[in-house]
Symmetry: D2
């Protein structure tokens, strides 16, 4: 199994939904970055369930402890280990899934491939496992901030409701004002209603999350097989429910001509910028100094209480399944936090790989 991501700034994630603990080891963070458990807790709190009607009713304290890597309030270059001990787990809810895979849930793969599958709460296939990314991302964000890089993720679509707002400043303000983490308050209201309606029906709904990184210098990314957009695409696609990744215009490029969407260069204040940013800040696999913009397609939570067709793997016969338990009717709001963290990890890694951040010591 592959539970590490990153080449120079590397996260190794561990733990499962109902096991003893979850966490991550972050290797390769340079020494002398000020870092506290609060820096990580702040991000974890954003993904925490039980905070609004649109997420699962599970309540998890999710208090992170740092076990290593900090000396006198600063990183010391050694691996940083963040861990959360599980507390509020109801394993009895899950025994019914031992032999009956949930349609479009990863459990079928786990059963087939590993055999000994901890089906409780989805085990290591649970969305709860993204705690690892969020721990790593919190550190990455702190590191990137020292270089003037900021990252924000927001929900742009739920079902057929689309956000209209494109103003980054307004988006930042608005996402903290609504449980959807949407940048457009009117759309957020509609999205919330749609999600609650689907929840009521025992169903779930998909959506789209956009991530914007500003302050990224030109020159991140390595041509051919280490492209920045390639690494972003992998990292974002590795988030559980994601079925598509776009950079800049994404699939809209198909219906356009070069003359319509090429990003022309111009000089502003002796700095080279582009008139438009249809490329989403990445051309030829390298950042060009413009904001880096990605979109991900998030499928509806597969765990729904509506009756579905499945099979019993032991008896090898068809079987109906109704999934009880506490599931998010729409995971997009919480995915924003993971997308932000994931983007931060990839950018921190490339900032070190490309020589913008010293590999061992921020004081250099």
């Amino acid at each position: 199994m592959s539970n590490s991501i990153g080449e120079k700034f590397k996260i190794t994630s561990f733990g499962s939904s109902h096991g003893k603990a979850l966490g991550a080891v972050v290797d390769g963070c340079p020494a002398n970055l000020e870092l506290s458990a609060e820096d990580i807790q702040k991000e974890l709190d954003k993904r925490k369930p039980g905070t609004s009607k649109v997420t699962t009713a599970r309540k998890e304290a999710d208090e992170v402890q740092i076990l290593s890597g900090i000396f006198e309030g600063k990183t010391d270059g050694t691996p940083i280990t963040g861990v959360i001990f599980n507390t509020n787990q109801h394993s009895k809810d899950y025994s019914m899934f031992e032999n009956t895979p949930r349609p479009s849930h990863g459990d079928y793969g786990w059963m087939m491939k590993y055999g000994n599958y901890d089906y409780n709460g989805g085990g290591r296939g649970s969305g709860r496992v993204t705690i690892g990314q969020v721990i790593g991302g919190a550190i990455a964000k702190k590191l990137l901030k020292t270089q003037g890089i900021e990252i924000i993720s927001h929900v742009t679509q739920i079902g057929d409701v689309k956000a209209q707002n494109n103003d980054l400043k307004l988006i930042k303000e608005n996402i903290e004002k609504n449980p959807i983490r949407c940048g457009d308050l009117n759309a957020a209201k509609e999205m919330e209603e749609l999600i609650l309606a689907k929840k009521q029906e025992g169903d779930s709904i998909g959506g789209i999350v956009e991530t914007i990184a500003t302050g990224v210098p030109a020159g991140l990314g390595e041509p051919v097989f280490g492209k920045l957009d390639g690494d972003l695409a992998r990292a974002l696609m590795n988030i559980g429910a994601v079925k598509g990744v776009e950079i800049g215009l994404g699939f809209d490029v198909a219906a356009h001509t070069g003359s319509e969407i090429n990003d022309e260069y111009e000089i502003n204040d002796n700095k080279i910028t582009t008139k438009t940013n249809n490329s989403g800040g990445i051309i030829g696999g390298m950042s060009n100094g413009m904001p880096i913009i990605s979109k991900i397609a998030v499928k509806p939570t597969p765990s729904i209480s509506k009756c579905q067709n499945s099979v019993n793997l032991e008896k090898m016969e068809n079987e109906k399944i109704e999934i009880k338990g506490r599931h998010d009717p729409c995971i997009c709001p919480r995915v924003t936090v993971v997308a932000e963290a994931t983007t931060a990890i990839v950018l921190a890694d490339h900032m070190i790989r490309s020589g913008f951040i010293h590999p061992s010591n921020l004081k250099y």
Copy 2:
């Protein structure tokens, strides 16, 4: 720079558009696979330019030589090196780009990051560099065929023209009958006209390429950070002009509910299959035995002859640019070959990683 892809089946690509040669070293192909230069040449010929009105007029022999890795007609487990010596290069066409980056072309990144940039024919930023993937992909396809896996890529959209045909057998037949490599002959006709119209205008046009892999067993892919869709997304996004990657329904999941698109299980002939394949053959990062389906968004070639705004990097002043030279008005037809090769490399790698193919010897 990162010019390697794959963990167990690993391609290291080298060479540039107008340099001495291009090629790839393929490390990790098990011994005892029958392989000849013809197996590779066949794939290279499909991406060769100059074969129809919709591609560039450049004529390249592109004859591959195998320098290592074959003994008595079979792989011997050692690295396989395929190389093509460049012959038909017109370097005089490119000197104008030495200091003036082409809008939305990777050359700006190369100039900024590496300084000493071989701008001739786009250097190593050229689409010609995908010869490396095609060499690796040809070997991967031969290897996968021994396991009953086949891969086909086809154009599903150019501009606003969309192919309608979803029948895999028909797609396979049709793509060889039209220069667009589209599975729908009527759409292909329209696409061709659209491309020629754009060429006439000195412009270019984008499109979408779909790839379908059949015969893939359940259980490829490693949860969390080695997901099969994650690795596919990275590999596909690493193809030059790609701005988006979808698996299965892709971005369409956003507007759907779980009950609408969950892939329910059923038993057929004592085999577990799903009634639908909205997941595109991958759930939870692992293949589920259904066909693996991806789509990529291919942007219009940035090199167009229409006048565009750019900057002169040496003088640091704005400058107009008109790009001459022989460029494809639409690269989608040729991208199909690269998408096919890329998908083959990722699948071959995971077949070995997951224990379906022995890492050193096909005879085991």
Copy 3:
């Protein structure tokens, strides 16, 4: 910093001597291996200090907790995290080393490279950090045992005292009967006296540790840059105080001819073996089915109480240093446990890499 070892069976180690905790995440262990905390504790207890007069007087409970990776008594293919919380740390002993590096101790490198160095107990440069390897090695040993592979390390030399016994069965019995973990009880007695004499003088003494792995099949190791002896050499050299690694005859090959030391083949019971094992079980980077034998040179503990010359890095002036604190006068007995663990990790990794153990599931 690089805190991971292994390609398929991968250990990521974390923690420091006086920090909150130490441990390791073990990724890539196949599912369905029976594993308990006791399996790991057993190995940790062997390296635990405070158990005899020849080791440091520090007493550490060193009780391991498994935080993840086990389901119903067996591995489930997910990362296994073992952690030990530090309890008996005397940080006041170490403040004198903040600016004064200890001769031949790694602290100088840490100070120079990372700046923010946790000097307490040697921080992450401490021998205590080998707890990570021992956790990983314990799991590796359990995994290898399912394939009939056993590994034993023993002390063959301390100072000028050399063990004479070459009988593997006898070595195994004897090492548990003396605190030196030497296979020759007479030599062990002399070694113990020598160590205590050096301790009395405020000095330390070096030695040699041999590791023997039996039951290893022919065919582990990948030619050219993934050789089994190459990977063993790196892993063993990565143990703190090691200054040399030998495979088989090692440096003795220099004074011999091919006809004297070539290992001739013969057939025994329809199995190919060699008459001698001067190669130490590895030829051309691959195991040949004979026992794998390595030796490592372990330098005397650099931390001695005798007065030594050093420098004050802050004042940039010469300074004398006398190292108090509780240090092992000879670390060889404890290094045997680490060498055993390290060898197990490398062999487990190659058993998976070479297809002898299935990468995800022991049931295959």
Copy 4:
């Protein structure tokens, strides 16, 4: 198979003794390093056989061609491919080895593991394959020279004849004056006689090669699992006939006390140095600014013409073997070139990894 070495400065080697070609792709060399084929040829000529009585009588032109990675006389950051086409191969000499492994030669492993083994000239198990390292090392040496780092390897022992000279300046002068590449001209004479005597007997002889790197800054190497000595040990052990690696005092540490061999610090010209260099320039896995000194044990060439016992793998019966063909009676002189190259590759890699050399562009 694993044919790549290095993390940031990465060599991928290919080709076999009697195949079409041999070579290497060097990925990760920063742009703007002046480099020509002559720089590489110079190093290859040093390892070329047929130049004296103590090496094989084979004559190989071994002319290197650079296929990629150079633009206008300088590296451009893209992969550098060096290739040598084989010309003087006598495959008829080797057919007798098809089913009969040579004692202590790697061919047994190749036959067992890969099945389809090109036994001609040892195939990819041949010493000729070190051409890959030498190509990579030549580039690494040129890169390191820009940072003031120089590397020299010399023979210190053949059989029981040992070189006495420790003066680096004299060693450099002397090694070019004798075919043994020994730094002590008197010893060189004796060594030559010993080798010729063994050749006469149809036998071969082992030896020791020392490598010294000067000008290496303090701070190379990453603690725990990326130690500089760990990476050196692996790389050096990966050279065909090497059975042991020492750093600094090596195995001599066993018989010493800490007070005898600890390297005490002192300040010279406001620079921190050590009074002695028993550590061989590496402590705690990191360089300390002193010369880096390693020794490797080189076994006698296994291919000897004296009659030996072996087995016929096809018939599974014992069989005698007398190895004809042109083999070096002692490979130590040629190994010096490979050791130098290998050390250069490891140091170049760590210079980039540790931030001393910019990863993409020397102009930074």
